[in-house]
Point group: none
Chain length 201, copies 4
DNA sequence: CATGAATGAGTCTTCATTCAT
DNA sequence: GATGAATGAAGACTCATTCAT
């Protein structure tokens, strides 16, 4: 009954597969990605993947969920409830910029899922999008409670904040801007948002 | 004389292929899209497509360029140099919203190309993104000349405007918002931007 | 519009595939038979088979139906309505013996389908079995009308006749009897049947 | 002492595997049958099967031999040397009918092996066929000694008897006849055979 | 002895592309 | 030019078998 050891090994293998899958999916997209290649890179046999994931689709979704968890953890940490709204906005923007830079693969694969055509994946990615919006809305609400801003429509505003952070970072990277250059814009973005939501009269 | 007629027929066929390709690619994505189906829907033989396009990839790119032209025409018309900056921003937002609603297929296919993983397609889609930014930057410059705003970094500001219009529309649709609801937000978005760029004291 | 020529070529290819399929299926059974091998032996490309048959299963069924037609033609010819009942019974037995000897592959594949476990194939093979019984019953009816025999239950009797001809041949071959030896038993079998059905008081 | 217990346990496990294998093979055929499923249904680990049987093929053959023993025992009991030839023939027919009805799985799997394409299995099944013929020939010989019939060629006659009993039952079942209906035909079949072999003037 | 996680050979099927007509 | 029959590379997935525990 070496259950504990097994469970650990199993989880480690599962992680390794997901990591390699993320690389492959990010590089080639869902259809072009090759299960055999993923297995090779994960250092396991071709059939072994199917002991961990039902099929290619489920592997992709599992990977997406794993990414989602990691990203949400990063975002939550970034806009933890301390400091001014300006500071939190800057940290949010920088969190997205860092994710895009350091978790390049998973950031790309998530964006592809979100804005791609495969509805099944879009549904899963949309969940993460809603989580983003929820924590942003929470941050705005807290700031409103602190009298830092007045705001009627929290949801719409949250979506504007998200567009000016995540989408901005995504577009900037697509346009070829260097990550360090993007980081430098944190101040401007934060200022823009604060003025936009009327927190900086 | 027959030259012209032939040329017209040829161009018409080319358009028909591209139109059907847009539908198929938007619905299924590049890999899942089927050349045979596109040919059938375009009312031509399977082999005929290869008389018009080198291969599947080139067909996709041609379609992307065709979409880009149409979209840019719509955007240019929307922010033609008349009216106040606020009016022009509202028209820009509404233009994106209408493209997303009425040219659903081509809007989706373009976003997939832009944020998807295939670099060749991303490069092509990025061109359109740059064109967007250029016309937005031009608009901002004209407004600055009119004294409507002060602005140091036109490029970064243009990207913020783009994020708050195109990306906002895209995200809102992914979240399942109705098109009519999105349209109603034009005023708020425009106000947000104007305040953000410091045009509304 | 070279329809006629095409139609002929197409039909020829179809026949060739079916012929090779019969050999492969008879030698290895449905599951072990290899579509690639069939294609190679038929002198066509791997994918071409799928232009003629939906999938492996449909190819098998088409082959079964083709065999059924050929066998029924042979059986009908054998017990054509001329000669005495004894002569017709001998011809029937010999027809089965010849089919088993000369159309070895198709005889085997049909028997496998009939007595094998795959229900879908069994259903198709059962149709042929019923056809056999129908023509045998018809023969018995004609003989009864001629006063050659008295018989209450035509169906059951027909099944006995079939068992003593087809099944007998099949069993004899499984037991390793030489085809020529089997042929020699036609007289005895016919006599047995005639006595059995009470036509030889 | 523990030797015997172990030996018993081992034999019991072997039996259980064979029993489950018979069900699986009868239902799906050799190729489609799944070793894993058999192990599960036998309540043992996948690998354990290989401690009892060399491989899938050997398991199938062992099962075939096991079935053969059981069937032969039933047939031997049915035509035990008491009663008239007519009674013994009826008991033979009913024995096959009961085997087909009550030992459905093993009857089917045996017939598949006998008339299927896999030569190795056919060889094994043929052994049982020869055993059948031997006991039938013995019965005929005993009847001849009792003066119940005259017969030159015992082997051929035995094969006819087998065709009119086993093969008849098999065909009747393939045609969908109910088991109870088949049983009712025992008298007719016996009469037919007796007349056929000249035992009923 | 018993187990079941790991393996990888094997196969059907799809579909972009070619080319003879 | 137009066609669509033919092609074959490519890949997801299964499952009998092994072997470390």
């Amino acid at each position: 009954m070496p259950k504990i050891v097994d469970e650990q090994t199993r989880e480690a293998t599962r992680r390794r597969i997901i990591r390699e899958a993320a690389g492959e999916f990010a590089r080639l997209g869902f259809d072009q990605a090759n299960i055999n290649t993923i297995a090779e890179q994960a250092g396991i046999g071709k059939g072994t993947i199917y002991l961990y994931f039902e099929n290619k689709r489920e592997l992709f979704l599992a990977m997406l969920r794993y990414i989602a968890q990691a990203h949400m953890a990063a975002i939550r940490a970034a806009i933890a409830a301390d400091g001014t709204l300006e500071q939190r906005l800057k940290r949010l923007f920088l969190a997205f910029a860092r994710l895009a830079a350091e978790e390049n693969d998973s950031f790309n694969v998530f964006m592809s899922a979100l804005y791609g055509v495969n509805r099944a994946f879009q549904a899963e990615a949309t969940k993460l999008l809603r989580d983003y919006l929820a924590v942003i809305a929470l941050m705005l609400e807290q700031s409103r409670a602190h009298g830092e801003l007045q705001c009627d429509n929290l949801e719409a505003t949250a979506l504007m904040v998200l567009s000016l952070t995540e989408s901005y970072v995504l577009s900037a990277r697509v346009l070829g801007q260097a990550d360090t250059d993007i980081w430098k814009q944190a101040d401007d973005i934060a200022q823009f948002i604060l003025r936009g939501i009327g927190a900086l009269a």
